[in-house]
Amino acid sequence: MSAAAKALIKKQLLQTLNSFSRKNRKTGKKLSIAGVIGIYLLIIVSFGSMFFTYSMIVCEGLHNAGLDWMYFALFGIFGGLFSVVGSAFMTYSALYNAKDNELLLSMPLSPSLILFSRMIGCYFMAFTFCMPVLLPSLIVYIAHGYATAPVIIFSLLNLFFLPLISLAISCVLGWLIALIAPRVKNKSIVTLVVSLAFIAGYYAFVIRLPHMLEDFVVNAEGFSKKIKYLAIPFYLMGKGLAGDTPSFLLYSLIAVLLFGIVYYVLSRSFIKLTTSSAPSVKVEYSGGQVKSESLKSSLLKREFMKFKSSATYMLNTAMGSFFMLVGGVAILIKGSDIKEYFINIAEDIFSDSSLIVLMSVGITWIIVSYNFITAASVSLEGKSIWIIQSLPVKPSDALNAKLILHIVITGIPALILYVCSAIAFSADIRLLLGIPAVILWVIFNAVLGLILNLKNPNLDYIDETAAIKNNWSVLILMFGGTAVVVGLGLLYVLVSKFLSAELYIIAVSVLVLAAVLTLFKWLYTRGAVIFSYLN
């Protein structure tokens, strides 16, 4: 391998690793390798546990039917799909939208070598997504005592071959996105709609999957014929992993060939795609009176413009609102069925109106914690923060605009969900008690998120996603919010003998109000100074 190729691959791997760990602004320290591995393992364990459950559902049934190959083929398909879905957009960004494409293309490096180095980084991502599917299925197979030496060896080797297939598919999808993306108008809205449709489809699939897997075991013979003819590489993979050496060798060859063909074809069009720009249609300014607006309304409009301009911002920080709206409508439609289901589980709880109010508040609070618009809003000022700092704007006014955006985007869906769930479970007038509790929690999350982001902003980001996702404020809000709700739930169990649910909601609301006032005091004093001089 040439020195240039080594340098390129090293740069790409460093870039991939760096995306996991950002320097702390105060200490200048980066997340350690152990920290990166810890996060990596956490991802694998959290996704792996889901596929572990699925493996448990089908493993014994398929083995007893003599269809071990189909067990491996099935999880190979899942692994491939999971990897393609998880990494297609990343592959597109890494291959065709990388900031340093022009710099590298200006150097004496062949485009195919640049492409290859990028594909190595993407391969690492594909590998990451395949692991949580393939490993649990192998562990379950071994735990059942079905595994032989060839099964284990081929399965471990497959950890490296399957990512080649999924990478090839991701690359083709990335290539299609690169072809289409420059021609799409309102990119952020299109991305938002496609992503929401995909997420809705994904959850519908995940919810139905256990039933589908049970059907799959019952009708295994019929499915096995379909896989044999429609997904030959996966059939060969299944046969190979079940211990058939020729099938495994043939499958490995197909994986390598597929990757090679895709690499060859893409390297032909790499320069054209990376250097092509969107065919822009110039809209000429027609002039006319430029209307004036108040300072506060203009600041708020600025926040909304930023929010709706970025699908990444909307999708990553306001997903809770989507779930709350969909959940609220679903609860209204299917209310009686859901109520009947829960009453069968715990009649005492779901027949008591005040407990229903308490639970509805708790559920709403958890989902509200999954919105963290303010927790990214300071970072997203980015390098243009000098504008708001140099203008005669009180920092409190600028910060309030960020809070209002969060409160509106989160508060309205939260109230819809809360009221819908309380009504569906036939709560009486006491449901009014929960409304201040929900509003206060939304405000608390908004202010806390803003403070956390003020304390740890990332203004130097290259990719917006890093400013939004690579952010401790987000993790604290998400997990902290859930932990608080669980803690308060447990506390209620302890104090329920002395305190009615109504009084408990009032007491907790007063506590949250006190916390909100304390946070506001900090925000308007110390927080305002921090915001004025952030750079």
Binding site: V290, K306, Y533
Partner: protein, 247 residues
Amino acid sequence: MLKIEHLTKIYGEKKAVDDLSLHILPGEIYGFIGHNGAGKTTTLKAACGILQFDKGEIFINGLSIKQSPIEAKRELAYLPDNPDLYEYMTGIQFLKFVADIYGIGSEERTEKIEKYTKSFGINDDLAMPISSYSHGMKQKLAISAAWMHDPNLIMMDEPFVGLDPVASHTLKQMMRQVCDRGGAIFFSTHVLDVAEKLCDKIAVIKNGKLIRSGTMDEVTGDSSLETVFLELEENKGSQETKEGDVK
């Protein structure tokens, strides 16, 4: 118009600006020159209230930037070396936003937007998103925005970088007009020819210390600004400010 007194800014153990004092009077175009990392940008950022400083005081038209930042900022406009604007806005949306912040009335803003953007030749592009603008167009838009509220003091960091010759000429005329109506300009530049022709006064900063300041004649004498600047840069011993040069 701008009074900087004993400004000191320390980053870690390094003094980025060391006891710098400057006084810019109404009607003056004041150039600020120095090597890369000398402390020009730090001084400008501190003067416009976006960077905290450790010692000293800065007054804009008599208003302390520390004690009355909002009132002081109403008096000034700042232009950084790299015009990072709101890419999610169109040009007209950005100008409207800035006009709203300064409370400029509808008629006045319409007239000024037309005047400045037409003089820079970007009026037709105002409906386009800023993300589609070139570096020079962003710079022209930022200048138009800075001029909109008739600031008394305009501070600019390398304002001519990225501007075409026509736009540079327009900017120079606009700078002179500000001074003619009693305002002042304080700007940094590496283009010594421009500084020499345009500035009424000049300040030279080296390693955070002001090493020379005054009228062009006082600073350069019979030599060119380039010659003087190179001599000052080479002369390690001349880091002390010449007493009496600073007004």
